[in-house]
């Protein structure tokens, strides 16, 4: 079976686009082949900075012939219909059509259209130009006077087709003046002459001889192995970096690993800064001294050249640049420490955090207040949390972070340590950004926790208040990540925090920033607000004095209403994120819903405890049977309530409890309700579930012995009310209606 080889030779393709382009070419070409009936045995794509290539193995020499029957009009149909049929089927006259009989429709004409399969190269010659023209580069361009778009100017195309042992033919086509051939070119500097190629193996071997390693994975292996060997030979250890490896493999066709050095004095700079400097600007690897675990004053560069002097000039050149870069970094590091973090704080006043959310200074002030509020709940000293919140963002204005934003937080820690700030404060500078993603560590130190929660909650409330919530795949402010961060910090540290009132109070503050209402006095009134008050009436009821404070501080009551809405909405966002988080850990999301459906559930830790206990209970025989009984009760209720157009709620009338089974059930409900309430109040969900289990037997017995729809309307009503009491009893635990399965 013949093979196809395609190579698209161009000017340098950006490293970050190469892997995706190779996958894209493979998929587009093979899909197009299959669509045209050309099945293949295997395909592999290749990519280097200057070429994108694909080998498709085991293709048929031509498409299979196709035979198609076209039904036409019935015999004796009007002339127009017959003419249309002949035209569409490509027939000259009715003699070329046959007649078929159908018991229902009678006789009608049929045309048999034979479509001979085309030779595969012809099909390929159709497919490839279209794929080139529509190739999905993230960014493409035109050049010269042409109109073709490619990632960078496309220069030549190899397209060969043939079976092993045969001289393959060139698949002839043309795209914007570029004519396909069997000629390619080697390494830009080491072997630039044209090379005639045949099939995949020949192409690979000849390019290898022309100093081009076409397989990206092999280039990566070469770089990694040579880098490790060279490090080892010098008694050092390579600091591996997958992202960097991917990038440099896309910058060279013939990787040559060389080692350079920089002055020891630069090792005063923190390792992370050295690494960021060398990596970001020079795309070089750094090396570790295995004895100390710290960086060595060496680096590895990946050159694209076998230089005639063994690489001495290349190393010298790179060393010069790295020296200059490290001088800059050292200058930044030194200047940053001359002026303390504190000196930077005033500048935050003139830096906008977000156009609608005020300055960074305002944001830091909000975080500070929130961190102080949260501190006692997480076991942190408020004074330390306050200090940490003040300094946590200060490194954003340092030179090093200006240069390497990815070092934010870490640099704050270094500078805080350098200024002898309390160790808790230094740690919080770094850790308050955590967790950055699902795999990142969660802070555990109380002060770090207080600032981390304050930072994330302020972000969430802020963007909620200006209606910049995440939608679909769009989450430009990483709000999902922030919410997940809060959830993980709370759950993994077993923290007990009521979220709702925190969210509401933050929303009031943020709305004040947005609406530019006077600030200071209102803060007092917020902290005086009873935590669960949700309505203005509630405020009024709380205290006249409070209301007076509200009014005199200029805090408009509508702001309060808005804040309540934001808190509610944000809490349900937390519920959604919690569901996703728990589902990823194998929990049932319907149980999250069942628990969240209860009023006032805003303590995430407790919520998960409750849910876990419920999940365990529902696994037991008692749980399953009780759930079945519950559903039976609710079904009957639903039907009867619909029938009567009314709800049956409220206490039963003891005098109307005639059957022993209903009496026993009523008793059991009373007891279980009480026991569940006590256990839940004590946050002892296991005991609450045990209590609930005691409902199972009386419920079963009730359904066995009692007819709910008694002819006596008074008895019927009382029994329906009893069914509703079952529902009420379970409500202490969760909304059983929302339990699925």
């Amino acid at each position: 079976m013949p093979d196809l080889l395609i190579e698209l030779f161009s000017e340098e393709i950006p490293a970050r686009m190469q892997a995706q382009a190779a996958d894209g070419l493979k998929k587009l070409v093979t899909d197009a082949l299959v669509e045209r009936g050309l099945l293949y045995e295997g395909a592999k794509a290749f990519v280097t900075p200057r070429r994108l290539a694909l080998a498709v193995h085991g293709l048929p020499g031509r498409q299979a012939d196709q035979r198609e029957e076209k039904k036409g009009p019935r015999v004796g149909a009007p002339e127009g219909a017959i003419a249309g049929f002949l035209k569409s089927a490509g027939l000259a006259s009715l003699d070329q059509a046959s007649v078929q009989s159908d018991p229902k429709k009678g006789d009608f004409y049929v045309a048999v259209v034979e479509k001979p399969g085309r030779p595969t190269p012809e099909v390929i010659a159709d497919i490839i130009p279209a794929i080139i023209r529509g190739f999905p580069w993230p960014k493409s361009m035109r050049w010269g006077s042409g109109s073709l778009r490619w990632v960078r100017p496309l220069h030549s195309i190899v397209a060969t087709f043939g079976a092993e042992g045969d001289e393959p033919e060139v698949v002839r086509f043309e795209v914007d003046g570029i004519v396909s051939s069997n000629v390619t070119y080697g390494h830009r500097f080491l072997a630039p002459a044209p090379i005639t190629v045949k099939r995949l193996d020949d192409w690979m071997a000849k390019l290898e001889a022309a100093k081009v390693v076409v397989d990206r994975d092999r280039r990566k292996d070469i770089i990694l192995n040579d880098a490790k060997d060279l490090a080892l030979a010098n008694g050092l250890e390579l600091v591996e970096d997958e992202g960097l490896l991917d990038e440099v493999a896309g910058l060279v066709e013939w990787p040559v690993v060389l080692m350079g050095a920089f002055e020891e004095r630069f090792l005063d700079i923190p390792d992370e800064v050295i690494r960021a400097t060398i990596r970001a600007n020079q795309k070089c690897f750094v090396l570790k001294n295995p004895a100390t675990g710290r960086l060595a004053n060496r680096f590895l560069l990946i050159s694209n050249l076998v230089a005639s002097d063994g690489g001495a000039a290349i190393v010298a050149g790179n060393e010069r640049v790295i020296r200059a870069r490290l001088s800059d970094a050292k200058f930044f590091w030194d200047t940053d420490r001359v002026n303390g973090l504190e000196s930077r704080m005033p500048r935050f006043q003139s830096i906008t955090f977000h156009e609608k959310l005020g300055s960074q200074a305002e944001r830091i002030e909000r975080i500070r207040r929130l961190a102080v509020e949260i501190a006692p709940k997480v076991g942190a000293q408020p004074a330390l949390a306050e200090e940490a919140a003040l300094y946590a963002k200060a490194d954003l204005l340092t030179e090093v972070v200006g240069e390497f934003p990815e070092l934010q937080g870490l640099m704050g820690r270094y500078y805080a340590q350098d200024e002898n700030l309390p160790p808790e404060v230094a740690a919080a500078c770094e850790e308050h950004y955590k967790p950055q993603g699902p795999g990142d560590r969660v802070p555990t130190a109380p002060v770090s926790i207080a600032v981390a929660l304050a930072d994330k909650i302020d972000t969430l409330v802020g963007f909620w208040a200006i209606d910049e919530k995440p939608t679909g795949s769009k989450d430009p402010y990483a709000l999902r990540r922030a919410a997940l961060g809060v959830i993980r910090i709370v759950l993994e540290n077993g923290l007990r925090i009521r979220l709702w009132s925190i969210l509401r109070n933050r929303a009031i503050e943020v709305l004040q920033t947005i609406k530019q209402l006077p600030f200071e006095e209102a803060i007092d009134s917020i902290s005086a607000l009873p935590p669960d008050i949700r309505t203005l009436k509630g405020v009024q009821a709380a205290e006249d004095e409070l209301l007076f404070k509200f009014a005199s501080s200029g805090l408009r009551l509508t702001v309060f209403g808005e804040a309540v809405k934001i808190a509610d909405d944000l809490l349900s966002f937390f519920a959604d994120r919690l569901k996703v988080h728990l589902r990823e850990h194998g929990a049932r999301h319907d149980l999250v819903d069942a628990v969240f459906a209860l009023e006032g559930q805003d303590d995430l830790f407790l919520l998960v405890e409750r849910m876990t206990a419920l999940a365990r209970f529902l696994e037991t025989e008692d749980g399953k049977t009780l759930l079945a009984g519950y559903r039976r009760a609710v079904n009957i209720l639903r039907i009867e309530e619909k029938k009567d157009g009314r709800a049956f709620t409220g206490p039963t009338n003891a005098a109307l409890l005639k059957e022993p089974a209903e009496e026993r059930l009523a008793d059991a409900i009373e007891q279980v309700k009480r026991r569940v309430a006590t256990a839940v109040a004590a946050e002892d969900f296991e005991t609450a579930m045990t209590a609930l289990a005691d409902l199972r037997a009386p419920v079963d017995a009730f359904f066995d012995a009692v007819t709910v729809n008694d002819p006596d309307p008074a008895l019927r009503e009382n029994r329906l009310k009893l069914l509703d009491e079952i529902r009420a009893a379970t409500r202490g635990i969760a909304d059983f209606d929302r339990i699925g399965g």
Binding site: A15, A307, R320, A324, E355
Partner: protein, 309 residues
């Protein structure tokens, strides 16, 4: 290879001015019009009308020139070995971009003494965009042994107008390149005239005092009230000249109008260096300059050089 017939002081690896002359000579041999710097303050060689305006329209164009470039914010009072608020760019523009533009570029490096068998030259992705000019293109920064020595761009859009044909633009950072070929670590140590001993003039001899004085000017003294007024005046004048020259199908004053756009852009850079423009204002100033650039580009297309019939 450096021309062996050159006297020592004319060797591009010994003299800053010789480097510049070598590049001029090289591109003159490729058929470029060798122009002199534009006589206005600009932030980059791209602002020269020989690039911005000539990149627009259907007419072929090949030009090369040195352009002194001013970046007020990059001033370091002469104390940083690499950063300058005034430096030289060598600019080449070829329209349409020829198929062998990369090869030509590499030959120009050889001409100034970069041995391609010894040095690792790389084309590393770098998309170019000038928000003030409403321009963007794709290309690379060109690395020599890990140092960026040039920008290489295929213009896709200038002044908000699609470029067809596409121009290829090369921008050499002359000081950097000279530091590299001369093997010097501090820009002020560059040999400017290629002479030795008493006759030697260094880059510092020529520019150090200017860097110190202009840094003071840019950061401390530039009269912001005057500059704010100048910005408004330039903007107004640009619109006025555009209106004056507009004759329907034709335009008769695109170039003078564009001068005012250049002026506004430089004044904005000065204001920015003085720190009197807030983040939000910054964006709106950029947009205002872009509007001027776009209007000038549209006017240019209605001139003879812009390809109007």
């Amino acid at each position: 290879m450096i021309d062996p017939a050159l006297p020592a002081h004319m060797r591009p690896d010994r003299s800053f001015q010789a480097l510049l002359l070598t590049l001029q000579r090289f591109w003159a041999d490729q058929g470029c019009v060798v122009l002199q710097p534009y006589d206005m303050e600009v932030g980059a060689g791209t602002f020269h009308p020989a690039t911005t305006l000539r990149a627009l329209g259907p007419k072929p164009w090949k030009a090369a020139y040195v352009q002194p470039s001013r970046r007020p914010k990059d001033g370091r009072y002469g104390e940083n070995p690499n950063r300058l608020q005034h430096y030289y760019q060598f600019q080449v523009i070829l329209k349409p971009s020829p198929d062998n533009l990369q090869e030509l570029y590499l030959k120009s490096l050889q001409a100034i003494g970069v041995d391609l068998g010894l040095h690792d030259v790389r084309f590393v992705e770098d998309d170019w965009e000038s928000p003030t000019l409403g321009a963007w293109g794709l290309g690379w920064e060109c690395w020599c042994d890990g140092m960026e020595v040039s920008q290489f761009t295929y213009f896709q859009q200038v002044a908000g107008i699609e470029c067809a044909p596409v121009s290829g633009e090369l921008t050499y950072g002359l000081e950097r390149l000279a530091m590299y070929v001369q093997g010097v670590e501090n820009v002020y140590d560059l040999n400017f005239n290629g002479r030795e001993g008493a006759e030697k003039i260094s880059y510092g001899d020529v520019f150090l005092q200017a860097e110190q004085e202009y840094s003071r000017h840019n950061f401390e003294a530039a009269d912001t009230e005057m500059l704010l007024e100048q910005f408004r005046m330039a903007e107004k004048a640009c619109h006025k000249y555009l209106a004056f020259g507009d004759k329907g199908e034709r335009h008769e004053m695109a170039l003078p109008a564009y001068d005012q756009c250049i002026k506004a852009s430089h004044v904005f850079n000065l204001l920015d260096a003085r720190g009197v423009i807030s983040v939000t204002e910054r964006q709106s100033y950029i947009l205002r300059v872009r509007e001027l650039a776009k209007a000038c580009g549209a006017a240019w297309l209605k001139t003879a050089a812009g390809g109007a019939a």
